[in-house]
Amino acid sequence: VARGEAQRARRAAGQLEAEILAVLWAADTPLSPAQVQAALDDLAYNTVHTILTRLTEKGELERVTHDGRPAYAPVRDAAQYAADQMRAALDAGPDRAEILATFVTNLTADEELSLRALLRRGRRR
């Protein structure tokens, strides 16, 4: 636990911004600061609040009212436009994305089966 906390302390503000942004994008509804804090479970409420405010000032989040409480949601307009462009660029040809460092490449059918088997074995243990 002590090592984990030390690592958290070293994490730069930019990294925390990215993690909080990811939480809000992955959520189906706007989240309150307390819900964001609960999702990340190892950040102080004040830290979460500060970063949410900063992301809102940058125009990446918007403050809304959800269930009668203040909450935050990602701003989608600019991202939607960029997503459409990106999809067109990537789908223009199979090789276009080759020189982008993608996290995972497409799986073959066999690889997919092996991975699922691996996952099942891991769960049973």
Binding site: A18, E19, A22, A82, R96, I99, L100, A101, E111
Partner: protein, 320 residues
């Protein structure tokens, strides 16, 4: 010149054969850059060797008629063949460079978006990649984020951050150009891609302090990628790309056949990365870099040697 001029091609072949086994044995960071450098060196040497063969046609130039022929160990048919191959290579390189420039302009919009290092795109495909720039950005689709747990997202971010910090996009671009100059180098490019991913995986493992968590994140992300691309195309939104993965039933069976026909195609894929992160941390051997560097250096040395020979012959020829 008799031998040296052909050595670069031989070096390419050696590198291509050796890169497969080396990919899983080399230290990821050093291996990626050593293989990239060797690929670029052998590709350039190969082009230069072709040019020397073409240049040996100089004694056939009509306005030099009447002078005695150069005593080159190369016949004219071979030189003509080399001219065709060289032209074909140059066209391929130009096409590859154009492709990379176009890709850069396509992603410029992503770099210009407001915000910090992370760009999230609403998209039904689960995708994640790093876009190089100043500063580079990490681009992830919301579908990918939803598929991952909080801890796995941390792995994803650390992984892409490592790509940008280590300059991997440059290695990928250089390897891609080297392949366009010499298709023999394709396996080397695949090894470079694999080692860059392995390096980023290890960096992410160090950052989150848990290598098995990286293996779990890779598994989840890979399966999310597979199911999201199949789901989209069965939805029939024509032109959903991702190169043939996911299609109707007949397409699936065709893909299955192709997989069996080419068992090694994805040998250095996600499965190997997952296996590596589940195994205890093994520092790849630096000694393995030596043959890679030697092959690259040999190709360069051979082309310098061949150039010296050719120049000497040319000088003797021009003096008559």
């Amino acid at each position: 010149m008799t031998v040296a001029v052909y050595l670069p091609i031989f070096a390419c072949a050696v590198l291509a054969v050796g890169s497969g086994p080396l990919a899983t044995r080399l230290a990821p960071r050093g291996g990626a850059w050593a293989l990239t450098a060797a690929a670029v060196c052998t590709a350039l040497s190969g082009l230069w060797a072709l040019w020397l063969l073409v240049a040996s046609l100089v004694d056939d130039l009509p306005w030099l008629g009447g002078v005695p022929r150069m005593s080159l160990p190369v016949n004219d048919a071979l030189s003509a063949g080399a001219a065709v191959v060289l032209g074909w290579c140059l066209v391929r390189i130009a096409a590859e460079l154009r492709r990379q420039v176009r890709l850069r302009s396509d992603v410029r919009g992503l770099l210009a978006l407001p915000g910090g290092e992370l760009v999230v795109l609403p998209d039904r495909h689960a995708r994640a990649f790093a876009v190089p720039g100043r500063p580079g950005r990490i681009v992830v689709t919301d579908t990918m984020l939803r598929a991952l747990s909080v801890a796995e997202r941390r792995v994803l971010l650390a992984h892409e951050r490592a790509h940008l910090r280590a300059g991997h996009p440059m290695a990928l671009a250089l390897a891609s150009v080297a392949v366009s100059a010499n298709p023999l180098l394709r396996p080397v490019q695949e090894a470079v891609n694999f080692l860059c991913e392995r390096d980023a995986d290890e960096q992410a493992g160090a950052e989150v302090g848990d290598r098995t968590l990286v293996a779990a994140a890779l598994t989840t992300a890979a399966l999310a990628t597979a199911s999201s691309s199949i789901g989209t195309s069965s939805g029939g939104s024509g032109g959903s790309g991702s190169s043939g993965s996911g299609s109707d039933d007949s397409g699936e069976s065709v893909r299955g056949l192709a997989t069996h026909a080419l068992p090694d195609f994805h040998r250095h894929g996600v499965l190997d990365r997952v296996a590596a992160m589940r195994a205890p941390c093994r520092v790849g051997r630096r000694i393995g870099l030596v043959p890679v560097i030697l092959v690259g250096a040999a190709a360069v040395a051979a082309s310098i040697d061949a150039t010296g020979d050719f120049t000497a012959l040319l000088v003797r020829f021009l003096r008559g």
